[in-house]
Symmetry: D2
Subunit: 393 residues, 4 copies
């Protein structure tokens, strides 16, 4: 079931669908096989404004609301999960800048995106630490009035070698005890002291190119710091929670794309003359039907949450983002597994896109938090102190 979109939103969706099917789709296999950046696909999306979905219209962006934005990401993921994931990460950084950046920062960075097609990475993960767990060991230390230095180590630095800037999640060294010290800085990826190392050879999401990085005494000025140091107000803005909603949309999109390819192949989805999944037998119908029910329910939740997103309070958004990611992850895993099982050995051959969809879903769903932790978060939300209304019920 499609979400309820206004005509204007539908036009945006139709446009990105056109680009996805005619341009992005045919490149997806080689991006995966060679583990290369989807550079041409980024360019095509940039030309149509889709690197600026999170940038206010005043700065030349599309300024898409949550529902339209998520359907755009889902649509891209139907044909190329790597393009969808990298564009989503980039878009989240632009939304952070829009939410807490200074005028100067906005002018500078948004122009880089809109005019020059520059990309922004968001590098959070560290050994044992993730953007959902917090507690980063990468440290920002003040040197003098306007000068800082950052040290640390980051895992899974997506778009390494292609993003022009990286938003680094770090801890401010000089914060008084028991004071939030989390902060975000934007650094050019060619900064002296920033060094990409390690290889990138994973199961799936191979075009996200996410090796490790060392940050050794990298200089930072005040103008590179987003928001006020230690001001956790950003958690009240609901931007961070949109990360999870996007991951949910990407999982749903990969599964939808695989389903469409397997059942209703067409020139648009690169399909073979005959559907790979032949749905004549009742047990096959029932087996894939179970997955579709899960997928449609998960997507309905995602769209409903996106529709109500902007008027919901931050705690509720966190819960919704968690539920959407959990539900879409489960449904996408079920769907891609069932497709393989019902088609059999041929579905595992790399000449067809189902094998890639399967690997991409399995890998994308490993982004933290894991399922068990998401369920824990949701369970925790159920019980409140007497007199306090649960955010869920």
């Amino acid at each position: 079931m499609q979400p309820r979109l206004e005509p204007k939103q539908q036009a945006v969706l139709a446009q990105v669908r056109e680009i996805s099917q005619t341009k992005l789709a045919s490149r997806a296999a080689i991006i995966d096989r060679e583990a290369i950046h989807p550079k041409e696909s980024w360019r095509d999306l940039w030309e149509a404004g889709f690197l600026a979905t999170g940038i206010p219209k005043a700065y030349g962006g599309l300024e898409l609301g949550p529902l339209t934005y998520l359907t755009v990401v889902e649509e891209i993921a139907k044909v190329c999960a790597n393009t969808a994931m990298t564009v989503h990460m980039h878009s989240m950084v632009t939304r952070m800048i829009a939410a807490i950046g200074t005028e100067t920062q906005k002018a500078k960075y948004f122009s880089e995106v809109v005019k020059n097609g520059k990309l922004f990475g968001s590098w959070g993960s560290e050994p044992g630490v993730s953007i959902t767990s917090g507690g980063f060991r990468t440290t920002l230390t003040k040197q003098d009035a306007d000068s800082y230095v950052v040290h640390g180590q980051k895992y899974f630095c997506t778009m390494a070698g292609a993003a022009s800037y990286a938003m680094i999640w770090c801890t401010f060294a000089g914060a008084p005890p028991n004071t939030p010290a989390m902060t975000w800085i934007v650094i050019p990826t060619d900064s002296p002291g920033l060094q990409i190392h390690g290889t990138w050879d994973p199961l799936g999401m191979r075009g996200t190119i996410s090796p490790s990085a060392r940050i050794a005494a990298c200089s930072v000025t005040q103008e590179q710091i987003l928001g006020k140091i230690g001001d956790m107000g950003v958690y009240q803005l609901g931007v961070l929670e949109l990360f999870m909603m996007g991951w949910a949309a990407i999982c749903a999109g990969i599964a939808e794309g695989a389903l469409e390819y397997a059942c209703n192949p067409s020139p648009e989805n690169g399909g073979t003359a005959k559907p790979m999944l032949n749905l004549q037998e009742p047990i096959k119908q029932a087996s894939i039907g179970e997955a579709v029910v899960a997928l449609d329910s998960a997507r309905a939740f995602l769209y409903q949450a996106a529709t109500a997103w902007e008027t919901a309070d931050p705690g509720v958004r966190r819960l919704w983002g968690t539920e959407a990611k959990a539900s879409c992850s489960q449904a996408a895993l079920l769907t891609t597994n069932r497709l393989l099982e019902l088609i059999g050995g041929r579905a595992a051959l790399k000449e067809f896109p189902l094998e890639r969809a399967f690997r991409d879903v399995r890998t994308a769903t490993l982004m933290p938090p894991p399922l068990a932790t998401m369920f824990e978060t949701v369970g925790k939300s159920l019980q409140v102190k007497p007199g306090v209304q649960s955010i869920r019920l």
Copy 2:
């Protein structure tokens, strides 16, 4: 996540919630234990107009749209599944009359409901036959110009002994071969020839009182036939599909009510001073959280389908009704099972309502079609002939 309701719809929901909590809730246990009709609860709902949710305003009814109607049923089910199920069945008959009845029929039957609080049963099931499978052996035979006679046997005759009228699903004997012969007649339950027999002692949904009936040469006049004999146009009206949506809402409601009682007891939900489910341990949080994610996704699908219901074509409504019933059934079973498992032996004692919720969900989800068949229906919808757009994708 609550569905998006207009202020007017919210007022309706608030009113039924008030009645449910202050009047219906405290009777639910005895209705179940003694397997008796929820007569006082029907009366309370009737007085507030809730036996007329499917009756047009022109005839004194509430004429609720699908979304509001389903949230009303869900709300009642939170406290008394038996009341919700019987009211839903009654309401579906009134919607059938509204859709295909003559002016005379509407005037007569709607007045009986609005003024006198009369109830309508819908008796479809036969040995090996159900309202979703069709092919009834109960037969309507023409005697002369305006006179018919009906013979047959019905299972699961809900509200037997309390409904004043029953809509009987039958086959017209004189139809030419290969012609649809399905028809619906409305008969007073005290008609000579109609005889209730058999006992009613089931696992759950015990207050729906659904024994078997024999119909032996029961006389029927033209005025008792709904619509034109064999006119399957009713399947284009989407009324029948709303049956499944209501069952979905009832399952979701029972599970929601159980969850609320177990986690956040209050005087309103009849709860104990201390929550029966103590959610301090992470594995308990994660275990119930998994069920909540499933339940919220299923409800989101239900609400999204209900919102788009009236502009959707009949085939799509059938698919949506199937998906909603499948998804809400699974989620409600998971939720009530997890509550029992996490609370332990005490949850199985009849002094608390969780045991009843568990039995009611397990029994309500046995209403046809079964899960495997619903999944089959959904799977079948995926594949269309080349050039034909699937109703789902």
Copy 3:
């Protein structure tokens, strides 16, 4: 797949099967409906020696090994879960006495069983405490040289009103700090100070009659204490772990009995002329087949563990008991749920035994520890310190 039994073991199994089918089966429904003790069934089993399966031959018992014992319990559970559960609990107490009782205790108590058919309950549960969690608040306090007094409160006192003796799980008040203080005492159930109270009206396992009890200053002599106070050596004997194996066998047995009744009815299993589950459609075959695969795998584990039981060390037995209970619980729940779903509404009527099997499995599987905790125990067993061989791998 049946376990591999020697001819002697097969004869024992054939005998209990004969008694179960010809005598126990026909009483099972009323025991459940009325929530009464299975007194006649106990008598029949006693006459054939089956109340003495855990009593050494030297004392007139059958002294069955673990595998034969568990198949006996499983066989009884196929026709009457209540009889199986109470006999299992009684048998576990006799095994405790055999393991740690004095000669005097053995002579006295075993004679009561063998000659007089007396029954022993095992009362452990307290609010928030269970035999698997430990930490009982029921307290044994020394009065003088040979005199003690016990105080406390017990939940789920199985066979209350029918067992002649109860083994009480309690804590010795005078134990030095950090010393194990757990102890077991055997008291006549008509002891002054022991008072059964509360009602017993649960979902299933209704013939186990397990209300609450208050123990107020109940006098105890040295001869009533089993083993040495605080001697946890009993945990090295593997008797307590056999509790869980028996629960596993009971769940498997109920599910097997239900499956047999539904698919292959016969006069022996009280079946109807036509199978309630008609297995003509592939999706029905596949749906029940999935449950059967789970059930057969769980039973294979149970039998394999039982076969190797006596030479395994206590830690391994604990792991096996946990795995067997977890696996058989899941499989029995899946099997009884699938039977209901595939048969439909008729399966929920109390005139057929499937509804009872469903309730009994759901209730029996609520005995602690819950699934999530069992999985935790198994997961914990996987990782050992470097150089230490895991008990599993």
Copy 4:
């Protein structure tokens, strides 16, 4: 839980474990990465006699019974699924020859294996046809007294380019109607007319090198035909059913190997200094514990069936093979998925073996029949005509 093995069987297992850990393990990654034949591993196994496990002692083979054979295959799969799968397929052909071959065939082919380390492939799959479905379109046609010709097309020709001989599953063209026409022939893989084509680039099991083959007018003599044409007696021998048991053992082995590596790394399993799966948190313990319970139950069934294999009748073996494959497939999928989820993104990197275990299990479980079909087979076995004892119950 390990199966119960005699000392002699244990010695065989210890020997293959030694070879696996010291020789096979370190080659597994490159075999997968490059999709190359495990030639050196075959040679090591051959030198120790493990290419002759299915060859009678009279011909110089090990003549292992089913239980020992399956534990050998499982042990190899713990370190290299590709070696295990190819050796299993080869061994099945030698068992077919032992069961229905002539003396001349045995002398010739067994000597090739024992003395020269030659390998045998088994090529059954065709578009839409598999060894479990039958109905091959590859056709054997008689030319004259001792001369035949074979035509056809085969998919998934495992060990193409490395096996010296291939057993081809085909249909005898001259069979009278309604007569079984299935037959097996052994042809040298360098026969004129046999042409390997197509590529081999799959998700997992990449070292099995299974491209397609065309067989165009390939000459065959009487001596190359195994057994009597159309003599379906081979289905009474239980050899074919052992195929499924071996696939089950391979899935279980891969999962066991992955579990050991992740939780208890050691130099033997190539493990890292610190376990990749840190099992400190209860929800992680519970999550992996659930998989372990499934895996241990599935393995218990496999061992129990293997132990009773030789005295079971063919229909029972077919059922057991189906149940074992279904249960071990499910458990291995659950285990490898949980390992990835609980470890997170690092588990998806190719520098660790878990990613490969995951792909190998997902691919191996696509070998026919699929899960839904296996469940259907098991469900079908439950119901027999009155008076006929079900092979299961």
